[in-house]
């Protein structure tokens, strides 16, 4: 039997090119080569499938040049024309997750080649691509590589063979919101009573009709007159006073910082830096105004373009930070800003 041919997409980190300092690494195609996690996939594939090439791209490079990079990747995949494309797994790496989702979905949509990726459920790539492509649910860090590959490899073989794919809860991928008719082992009334009994006795049960989660906030009315408004700065880019006095973590931040900028005209490299561990800090450390534009807003304050720059800024690190933490930070920051009479907020992200 012919082996299933697979192309594999990974980032600069898993290709062992480098970390954040190489996040701008351009897309590269390694025909006939197996790299990083590809080796683990090859082991589980046995004689059934083989990786016939690896596509490597820096995470920032991909996200900043999304369309053209995707086009180049699709062109390469089309030329090799494998039976299947695997991207990642990306765990909780946001830019990598977006890239994996885009590559997998793009290949599937534009070339009709099945594709598969893997991510942690809070990766932003999940919400962007879960309805377009199969995303295996992984742990939030590369420590979960073995477990991820163990789930992804058999699913990849099924996709490559064109076998029917089971439900998300059986195969381990993130639900795509697709319902399929099938015969249950037990009739509905029995299942409902079992569920009710479990609920009454405080035991775990799984609903058969989960409510959709529409978490949207209505836009607030616009600022009437910016020249009279107090504008506050908030960032998830980790800008902190030099030395990071409140020890905001470089990833998975557990708190935010509030810093007084009364009399501060610009953020100098002597006074400020970034605590963020998820992007190359060189440029922010040279001039933190590149992330938190205090200099420009001070100018505008002097010129009367805005009423006032709020005398405190709020900062945290949005790098693998749990959604629940970010929600709590936002609610508390908002409360303090409202209490201080701020009119509007500029929030910057890296």
């Amino acid at each position: 039997m012919k082996k299933i041919t697979v192309l594999h997409y990974i980032n600069q980190f898993f290709a062992q090119i480098g970390g954040e300092e190489q996040a701008d690494h351009p897309v590269e195609f390694f025909e006939g080569e197996v790299k990083g996690p590809g080796l683990a996939f090859m082991q589980l594939f046995g004689d059934e499938a083989e990786i016939v090439g690896t596509i490597v791209c820096g995470d920032s490079y991909f996200n900043e040049r999304h369309d053209e990079t995707l086009d180049a990747i699709i062109e390469f995949v089309d030329r090799i024309h494998p039976d299947l494309v695997i991207a990642g797994p990306a765990f909780n790496a946001g830019r990598y997750g977006v890239a994996c989702g885009a590559v997998a979905a793009g290949v599937q949509e534009r070339l009709g080649i099945p594709a598969l990726t893997g991510m942690y459920v809070e990766n932003p790539g999940v919400d962007l691509y879960k309805d377009k492509v199969l995303i295996v649910s992984t742990k939030n860090s590369a420590a979960g590589m073995r477990a991820a590959v163990k789930l992804m490899a058999p699913l990849a073989l099924k996709l490559g063979r064109g076998d029917a794919i089971g439900a998300s809860c059986e195969e381990g991928y993130i639900s795509q919101g697709v319902r399929v008719n099938f015969f249950e082992k037990q009739r509905g009334s029995k299942r409902a009573v079992d569920m009710l009994l479990a609920k009454l006795s405080g035991k775990p049960f799984t609903t058969e009709y989960p409510m959709p989660d529409f978490d949207r906030v209505d836009p607030q009315p616009a600022v009437k007159d910016v020249s009279k408004a107090t504008i506050a700065l908030v960032t998830s880019g980790g800008i902190v006073p030099k030395g990071n006095p409140d020890f905001i973590e470089s990833s998975s931040a557990s708190h935010f910082g509030e810093y007084d900028i009364t009399g501060v005209d610009e953020l100098t490299s002597e006074g400020y830096e970034t605590a963020h561990g998820g992007y190359d800090p060189t440029y922010a450390n040279q001039d933190a105004d590149r992330v938190l534009p205090v200099d420009v807003l001070r100018q505008m304050e002097r010129e009367g373009v805005i009423g006032k720059l709020h005398n405190k800024f709020y900062t945290t690190v949005g790098n693998g930070t749990a959604v629940a933490s970010a929600k709590a930070f936002g609610a508390e920051i908002g409360k303090r800003l409202v209490g201080d009479g701020v009119d509007a907020v500029i929030l910057t992200s890296t």
């Binding site: 946001g94 932003p124 607030q220 009315p221 009437k224 105004d289 590149r290 420009v296 509007a344 500029i346």
Partner: protein, 77 residues
């Protein structure tokens, strides 16, 4: 964070490079930035040029804050 701050009653503009993420998460006013490690700067440009670039993005952000929206809008212009 954008949503939770907006929920407390303040209009928020989100300046970010990867706008699809911002759209998925649910920011209402979005202004695209330059690059992930320097959203409001360009290390390759001169200091004056860079400041001008930064100011133009902040001006877009202020325009976004003073524009009524009834859903998500990416302010590219």
């Amino acid at each position: 964070m954008v949503k939770e701050i907006e929920r407390t009653g303040l209009p928020v503009v989100h300046i970010c490079t990867v706008t699809p993420i911002s759209l998925t998460v649910g920011a209402n006013r979005i202004v695209p930035a330059i690059a992930i490690p320097h959203p409001l700067g360009d290390p390759a440009a001169s200091h004056e040029e860079e400041e001008r670039l930064r100011r133009s993005i902040v001006e877009k952000a202020l325009k976004a804050l003073s524009t009524e929206v009834d859903g998500q809008v990416v302010f590219t212009g």
